[in-house]
């Protein structure tokens, strides 16, 4: 057997699996999206129909808020952990990255334990102020949930980027008389830009498409994945659900592709 035919043989299982169970189904999804009463206009409805547009705006705003907050938190913690060596540091890093592979449903449950009806925050606020604070089953709960699973991923990327920073640049800036804030603003943060873009894009795309957390917290939180789910299962509105999924998939893919072209390779993971 020649090398060429051996290589083709190596690719055959991949080709069969990916065509049968990914390419064809995705094509079917796009076709079904245009198969409703309104045809291709179903895709336009994502932007034109006030209810769908409202949900889309909600989802984008939530994802953007999660991304910015996560970046801010992860930068402070990541810089700190990479710049200082102290006893217990390894344990702290392990704690911060431990929820990395929690599925969305488990993250939802973590938020229920933290801010739900029998949650810790409710308990503490009841004792301190006499009024129970329950955040879990709302947009705020979902925000906390998405923070919970974005923080470990973004912290890892930022710590890796900080490690690769060239310390001589900072020394040069300091030698030229820059204060600590100026060094942060003009040297460190710009150097971390590719890491911000890469990890921010992943956080954003994951927050747009994640379903398990919203599903656990409540079925009436108004975000795109929940809308797709209810359209499909409760209203049996299959064409709309397909059109919305195609739209969601395109947005998530476009964000990651854009980030990759700006910042190099990115690694996405599950939500």
């Amino acid at each position: 057997m020649t090398l060429k035919s051996f290589l083709n043989l190596c690719l055959l299982p991949l080709a069969v699996a990916v065509i049968a169970f990914f390419v064809l189904p995705m094509a079917k999804l796009v076709a079904v999206g245009a198969s409703g009463k309104s045809g291709l206009a179903a895709y336009a409805a994502i932007l034109l129909d006030p209810r769908y547009r409202g949900t889309l705006v909600n989802t984008v705003l939530l994802a953007a808020a999660v991304t910015l907050t996560t970046l801010a938190i992860a930068t402070v913690a990541g810089l700190f952990l990479q710049r200082h060596r102290f006893p217990g540091r390894a344990v702290l890093v392990a704690f911060l990255t431990f929820p990395l592979a929690f599925p969305g449903v488990v993250v939802g449950f973590m938020i229920i334990l933290l801010a739900g009806r029998q949650g810790l925050i409710g308990d503490v606020t009841l004792r301190l102020f006499g009024a129970k604070q329950v955040w879990a089953y709302s947009m705020l709960g979902l925000f906390l949930g998405y923070l919970y699973f974005s923080i470990p991923r973004v912290i890892l990327t930022i710590m890796a980027a900080v490690e690769k920073l060239d310390p001589s640049l900072e020394e040069a800036a300091r030698a030229l008389g820059a204060g600590p804030w100026a060094v942060q603003r003009d040297v460190i943060l710009p150097a971390l830009r590719p890491a911000f873009i890469a990890s921010g894009a992943i956080a954003f795309a994951t927050a747009m498409g994640a379903f398990g957390t919203a599903f656990t917290l409540a079925t009436d939180i108004d975000v795109l994945p929940m809308l797709i789910y209810t359209e499909f299962t409760l209203s049996a509105n299959i064409a709309t659900a397909a059109a919305l999924s195609v739209g969601l998939g395109l947005v998530a893919w476009a964000i990651l592709a854009l980030a990759r072209s700006v910042a190099g390779n990115t690694v996405a993971a599950a939500g």
């Binding site: 057997m1 020649t2 090398l3 051996f6 290589l7 083709n8 190596c10 690719l11 991949l14 699996a17 990916v18 990914f22 390419v23 189904p25 079917k28 999804l29 079904v32 402070v76 913690a77 700190f80 952990l81 200082h84 702290l92 704690f95 911060l96 431990f98 990395l100 592979a101 929690f102 599925p103 969305g104 449903v105 488990v106 449950f109 938020i111 229920i112 334990l113 933290l114 029998q118 810790l120 919970y148 470990p152 498409g209 994640a210 379903f211 398990g212 599903f215 994945p225 797709i228 789910y229 659900a241 397909a242 999924s245 969601l248 998939g249 893919w253 592709a257 390779n265 993971a269 599950a270």
Partner: protein
Amino acid sequence: MRRLMFTAQLAFTLLVAAFLIVPALLSMLAGVTANYFRGIRSGLTLQWVAQVWELYADTIMRSFMIALATLAATLLIGVPAAYALYVRGGRLARTVEEIVTLPLAIPGLALALALLLTYGGFSDFRRSWLFILVGHVIFTLPFMVRSVIAVFAAIDVRTLDEGAASLGASPWRRFRDVIVPNARPGILAGALMVVTLSLGEFNLTWMLHTPLTKTLPVGLADSYASMRLEVASAYTLVFFVMIIPLLVAMQVFAGWGAPRPAR
């Protein structure tokens, strides 16, 4: 001033760590507390864990079975494909890699809907656990392919391959005796990732499962919605016990097969 900055940053980082770790500890504790509402004073018990086993043992077994089958499939499909894609190179290989990686960017819900719309009519397939397996394989395959390609890029496998070829080894023998042993770190890292992701996969599985093919995360969602907090916590505890050794192993091997820009 320096001291103050250090303390402030440390306090902030500890707060973030607490946000992540406290709920996990609470859930582990709740899973072995007799009555969570009354707190730890009510005593420790394993009755909830036993109840979880009674109610959900089948989901746990099924999740293990699907994870192992997913691993077998991604190994059989992914490792030869990674080799062929790396050795061939060029635009076609890059396009194929791009398509294989797409399921990472596309939300699980969309992929699940696509599978349902295409194969939902084949009712025997739809009802069996193989339907879930297909979803898991498509979703985890990119991790295996990428992690193996990353190792090929790092160890310059092309030179090794050419060396073996110049000694007269056939393509199959080179693949078996040279390529696969050298790709071991990437295969291991990919395998850990695949098993961890498959065990925890919910977004796809929730859409693809039937009442007879529930997996662990599907059962978890069930218990969060309908069981008392202690049972839900005990179930989560069981999940942690399964997943944490995998996470630790991944940290240990992180240096080996960590995804790097390939080429």
